[in-house]
Symmetry: C2
Subunit: 276 residues, 2 copies
């Protein structure tokens, strides 16, 4: 573990740490914001944030403005990179597969299987690293954007009791039914669509044993809304099985961090209510 | 004039516009945030923001979180690029001279003189473009970071009556006394140090005919504080001549946008008080 960046921010500390991940078999970076309470050693709840396609740990920590709200609520915010990276890690030229596009699954197909285990990384290894390094109190929530919104939903839904709340900005809710997901899941998991279902929020929420506070924000001018995101699929299944879901459709907003930064304060308040 | 980017943000619109500048003889980009009031056609005050070395119009608009506060106070925020750019524009490999390093002066020396007229651009051409394009009410303030803090100070101090207030984050206050400034002013203006004085906030404030609300924030862990910024030079002359100045030294903060974003809300409140 090595701290490679740190900046005072809103009275807390925005840091980037590097560690050797045994799950994805390479060095991984993650951002961590420590509010002033945590710097004093007080045990704090943790919000995990999963970013979207092409992002590293930097996008959310430099563009979302989350630090203001994390400081206000006394929440640690952890933002990992979106995939294994580096010379030994397989990649392709496309932006939506390989490095920067881990899709938060455990790949079973070659050449991906030895590194692309982002599900286990964010659900297990990363929380263990965080909780053994920083002053945490065991309360966790999770959120994310686009591919990372998909990641947040599946990680929360597959681990009942582990997270107090889940939220997402413009998430991919049913990867098997949209082009981004079909391409990635075919490459990482093969053609057997049964294997895809463990990474499909719409499938998982239908079987969920837990009623988890769930908040989704979606821009109505998001260029990917109808073809690649389709939040109505999640809304429909939540209504059918009686799972709570707040879906805010936001007029005029697109898929960018200008959308995320406009509503991250509301998401932090939603999570703080569940965490504290 | 062409709008090349627009995103809904905090109920307003964050845009980037491109235009042919007759002052710097090339295409220039600037960011403009229009709060909801301006989108409805209501005339609003304008805050100009000048960025630091290496920046384009993007840094401030993606990293500072200013939109939240601009929306709250109903202020238009204009953030130009830091220099002329492009194939026909002179440049050198160093980050602190040429493209990305205009220093907000009108160069008199070759090869810079035909393009590097950033003083006239930000003091005259840009406000004229903004005020003929967007619904403005004539009230202006100006702020900036590092080299851009220097720019904000000299533009405000040289144009009494034009700006209601001025602020800066970690500004270069006396370019003739620090390495960044000595290098740039020698290249752009030549060896005659008398010519440099019109771009030196410490010199200008000593002669100011106007008492302008002036706010400076400075991180105490800024790596450039003692060698290249030296805010005490401005504090001393303000005390000597009785010019108002609020100087906030911020424990632990560095020179990054994590510092700017932590206090941009306070600067926007300071300007809004003067503007509205």
């Amino acid at each position: 573990m090595e701290r490679i960046e740190h900046h005072v921010s809103f009275g807390g500390s925005q840091e980037v740490w590097k560690h050797n991940s045994t799950t994805v078999n390479c060095e991984m970076n993650f951002g961590v914001f420590l509010p002033e309470q945590a710097l004093r050693g007080q045990e704090c709840p943790v919000l995990y944030w999963l970013s979207g396609l092409t992002c590293t740990e930097q996008n959310f920590i430099t563009k979302s403005g989350v630090q203001r709200y994390a400081a206000q609520h006394g929440v640690i915010v952890v933002a990992p990179d979106t995939s294994p990276r580096g010379k030994g890690v397989p990649d392709v030229p496309e932006y939506d597969l390989g490095q920067g596009a881990g899709f938060y699954v455990n790949a079973t197909q070659q050449p991906w299987a030895s590194h692309f285990r982002m599900y286990d990384y964010v659900a297990h290894e990363l929380p263990a690293v965080v909780e053994s390094t920083f002053p945490t109190n065991g309360a966790r929530s999770i959120s994310g954007h686009s591919m990372g919104g998909h990641g947040a939903l599946i990680v929360a839904l597959r681990n009942p009791g582990r997270y107090r709340s889940v939220s997402a900005f413009a998430p991919i809710v049913a990867p098997g039914q949209v082009p981004w997901g079909e391409k990635a899941l075919t490459a990482y998991l093969g053609d057997d669509r049964q294997a895809w279902m463990q990474y499909d929020a719409v499938e998982l929420v239908a079987k969920a044993s837990e009623r988890l506070p769930l908040l989704v924000d979606q821009g109505q001018d998001d260029e990917f809304l109808d073809s690649r995101l389709r939040p109505e699929l999640l809304e429909d299944v939540c209504a059918k099985v009686g799972h709570p879901m707040i879906l805010n459709m936001r007029e005029g907003y697109d898929h960018s961090y200008y959308f995320v930064s406009s509503f991250i304060g509301e998401h932090m308040k939603f999570h703080a209510n569940a965490l504290t």
